[in-house]
């Protein structure tokens, strides 16, 4: 089911749109999807398409712009996202900021909204962000002619928190040696979840977890990898790693754990909880987290310990200044902890090619040699 949804992305959302449901597209994991769900809108994470040559985008976006954003926009230009009733783009990084005006001017979506996400995490940043989310909710209510009560919002938060809990449960299963689910399969699930209503995703996750729990794979001692980076909404790179003999057991990706690791807490109020979770709980380099590398990335140490990781793939997309500024520190930090790191800078558009295979094989040999030591 997850694979089918992955391979036919948008199919379910288009079906729902044809039935009269309003589907709202969004970029970036900083978009508080709970606000959409609370208004009976279907959140749909806009994705690019690895392996699909760009067709029209050069007439609209510069070639030095984030290739992931270029791919998303190219698909939109081709009509792929015509079923959306609106688009939400948070100002999280320079590329997101700039593409908002471009999207709006050229594609003219029925509804559009840009959420200003602070880069800082001062107390005042959270207060400001909460007000931004309040404005976002009002903007949605005004355009779609609906309103969400406190109970509606709490219920939506409950549904999305349930998704997060189920995903963490699924990830928990990956701690086993060998993991009963591959990195490719996990990617199918994650991508599927971005394209369907949260209730349906929760049902899907329960089925996946039940199936995965029933598996009894034999141990084969393959190197266990953590993948750190930004957008991975395609299996090509994960498949290349796994076909080369590795097992991807954990990630720190904005399409992966980063998007669900932290829950929204309701104790201080729904909007306050959303502001705290989205600004404070997402470890994207677009948010400034003070401190030296060991403070900022200590959670990676938890990941490698708890998931039995033996090597790290650091995967960044070209032209991403925020990641490029963190990557050498992350690499040095993980190597300092004793883990081999392979740093790949990708162009996103074309699937990983043969030259990567050679580098990956050499990297896996390094891990094997280290295991033998």
């Amino acid at each position: 089911m997850a694979q089918e949804l992955y391979e036919h992305r948008g199919l379910r959302a288009k079906e729902l749109a044809a039935q009269g449901k309003k589907v709202v597209g969004y970029l970036c994991c900083y978009t508080p999807v709970e606000l959409l769900t609370a208004l009976d809108l279907v959140p749909y994470r806009i994705q690019g398409r690895v392996g699909r040559p760009l067709k029209q985008v050069d007439q609209y976006l510069e070639t030095i712009m984030c290739p992931y954003v270029r791919s998303c926009f190219d698909l939109a230009l081709g009509g792929e996202y015509d079923f959306l009733s609106g688009v939400v783009i948070p100002h999280t990084c320079d590329a997101m900021h700039r593409v908002y005006d471009i999207w709006k001017y050229h594609l003219k979506p029925p509804y559009s909204h840009c959420i200003t996400v602070p880069h800082m995490t001062h107390q005042a940043s959270f207060e400001y962000f909460q007000k931004e989310l309040e404005d976002f909710q009002e903007s949605l209510e005004r355009f779609f002619g609906r309103s969400a009560s406190g109970e509606d919002l709490a219920a939506a938060i409950g549904l999305h928190n349930h998704s997060r809990a189920l995903l963490r449960e699924l990830y928990e299963l990956r701690k086993a040696e060998p993991p009963p689910i591959s990195g490719v399969e996990v990617t199918w699930v994650l991508v599927a979840g971005m394209t369907i209503p949260v209730e349906e995703f929760n049902d899907l996750l329960k089925d996946v977890i039940t199936e995965v729990r029933s598996r009894r794979p034999g141990s084969d001692g393959r190197p266990r990898l953590l993948v750190v980076g930004s957008e991975v909404d395609d299996v090509a790179m994960i498949r290349l790693l796994e076909d080369s003999g590795a097992r991807v057991v954990m990630d720190d990706l904005c399409t992966g754990s980063r998007s669900f690791w932290e829950d929204v807490h309701l104790a201080g109020g729904a909007l306050s909880g959303l502001a705290a979770r989205y600004l404070g709980g997402i470890t994207c380099p677009c948010t400034y987290r003070p401190g030296k590398v060991a403070q900022r990335f200590s959670y990676l140490e938890d990941y490698v310990r708890d998931w039995g990781v033996q090597g790290v793939l650091l995967y960044t997309i070209r032209f991403c200044d925020t990641y490029q500024l963190d990557a050498p520190e992350i690499k040095g930090y993980m190597e300092g902890l004793g883990f081999p790191v392979l740093y790949l800078e990708d162009d996103y558009i074309m699937p990983p090619l043969a030259q990567w295979k050679t580098r990956i094989e050499a990297f896996l040999e390094t891990i094997e040699a280290k295991k033998r030591e």
Binding site: C66, D94, D101, M120, H122
Partner: protein
């Protein structure tokens, strides 16, 4: 490609004021180095963060790191620093200014002192690092990355750039409140670092001086609407220096008064940049090719003068509200007013994206015949949106030629002079044809 050692990379200037800048820059670095020796506090800074007056009121010496990178490029001495940054694991696609800055500090640490032959004696070791989110992401990420090389205290703050379609009146209150809180956080940090208390009366006096300085620069700038244009972009790309890097210095106020007088005299006497100004161009969004500024002079051979820019813009006028007495709130209000001005104008114009709005206004007000934009490989922030601007210009001024020049702010690797000149040749043919057809 190894950066060519070139005696002169600068462009032709029209004004005496521009001729004074090189000495001002040299003196600026000398004074910063001397301040460090005298144990006065030195901060690494980013331009246009809205904190200049605050730093001056606490006697903190400001060193603008992006601009030092630009100086290295002008001198064609950026490459060793970029190479060092790349050797430290940073991508060659990273912001060129940041590559130079990180490379410089990585080398300083390795060598135990300022790298030899650093242009103008190098940047002094900072006592604090002050980034801000206005403009682009590296402007606050860069200083955190320096944590690999130094334990210098850091304060990063947000400076908001509200979305183009926001209801500015509705968001004003909480946006200004946030900006003011960020500034108060900065003041608390600076007081701790310097051991001084902020003198708010002094701060207010500096703000008034700065606004007067800006008034004179704006008045001078607007004289460029005259035909012939009394000065060009070649001048502008050095004349912004006192404003951006020595904003609170009383010398800067006098400098722009002097610039105004000089341009007024040139306008009154119809003295242009060249004898026969045939075409007027706009240098659109895109920072300049610091490594090869002389390429701008190639346009002069065609009788084309850059009469305006949208890079290093003169800030909009700001009237200090008489009922607001808190200087921090005034800075916050001013930042909001300036960072929403183009959005408001774009909304009034029927939904023109703010970046494009800046171009449309200049095309109209400065009698522009063609637009040149500079695609810079390593500066995403000033490059993203250029095609949008071109497309909007096409919608409003069909036929107006727009040229994309391609290279970088720092790195020469992607720059081909022959190809650039070919493009300019073609572009100028189009400018000429369009002007003739328009009668």
């Amino acid at each position: 490609m190894t950066q060519e050692v070139r005696e002169k990379t600068s462009s032709r200037k029209s004004t005496e004021s521009a001729g004074k800048i090189r000495a001002i820059v040299k003196r600026m670095y000398q004074e910063a180095q001397q301040a460090k020796e005298e144990k006065r506090k030195v901060a690494y800074c980013m331009v246009m963060c809205n904190y200049e007056e605050i730093l001056a009121a606490l006697d903190i010496v400001q060193v603008y790191t992006e601009n030092y990178a630009g100086l290295c490029a002008v001198k064609r001495q950026a490459e060793p620093y970029m190479e060092k940054a790349r050797a430290e694991g940073y991508s060659d696609l990273l912001c060129g200014y940041t590559q130079v800055g990180i490379g410089f500090d990585a080398l300083r640490r390795e060598l135990g002192g300022v790298p030899p032959d650093a242009p103008d004696g190098g940047m002094p070791e900072p006592d604090m690092l002050l980034g801000c989110s206005m403009g682009c992401d590296p402007r606050w990420k860069w200083y955190q990355a320096l944590g690999r090389y130094k334990d210098t205290p850091i304060y990063n703050m947000d400076v908001l750039m509200p979305p183009s379609d926001a209801d500015m009146d509705a968001i004003k209150e909480h946006s200004v409140r946030y900006m003011a809180e960020e500034l108060r956080g900065l003041i608390a940090f600076l007081e701790e670092q310097t051991g001084k208390k902020m003198d708010y009366d002094r701060l207010m006096a500096i703000i008034r001086q700065v606004e007067e300085t800006r008034w004179w620069w704006r008045e001078a700038y607007e004289l460029r609407k005259a035909i012939p244009c009394p000065m060009s972009t070649q001048d502008h790309f050095v004349l912004f220096v006192p404003h951006h890097m020595l904003l609170t210095d009383p010398m800067t106020l006098d400098f722009y008064k002097g610039l105004y007088q000089e341009l007024k005299e040139r306008v009154d006497n119809k003295i242009g940049v060249i004898d026969e100004e045939k075409y007027r161009l706009l240098w659109g969004v895109g920072l300049p090719p610091w490594h090869s500024m002389y390429i701008l002079d190639y346009y002069l051979d065609y009788g084309a003068v850059f009469a305006a820019e949208t890079a290093y813009m003169v800030p909009d006028p700001f009237e200090i509200p008489p009922d607001v007495t808190d200087p921090v709130e005034i800075i916050a209000l001013r930042a909001f007013a300036r960072n929403t001005s183009l959005q408001r104008q774009g909304q009034e114009a029927g939904g023109v994206p703010p970046l494009a709005q800046a171009h449309l206004e200049r095309i109209r007000d400065y009698s522009i015949d063609g637009v040149v934009m500079h695609i810079t490989r390593s500066c995403r922030a000033s490059t993203m949106g250029q095609i949008l601007v071109r497309n909007v210009i096409r919608d409003h001024y069909p036929g107006l030629p727009v040229m994309f020049m391609e290279s970088d702010i720092i790195d020469l690797q992607t720059y081909s002079e022959a190809e650039t000149k070919n493009r300019i040749d073609t572009f100028m043919e189009m400018v000429d044809a369009n002007k003739r057809s328009a009668g």
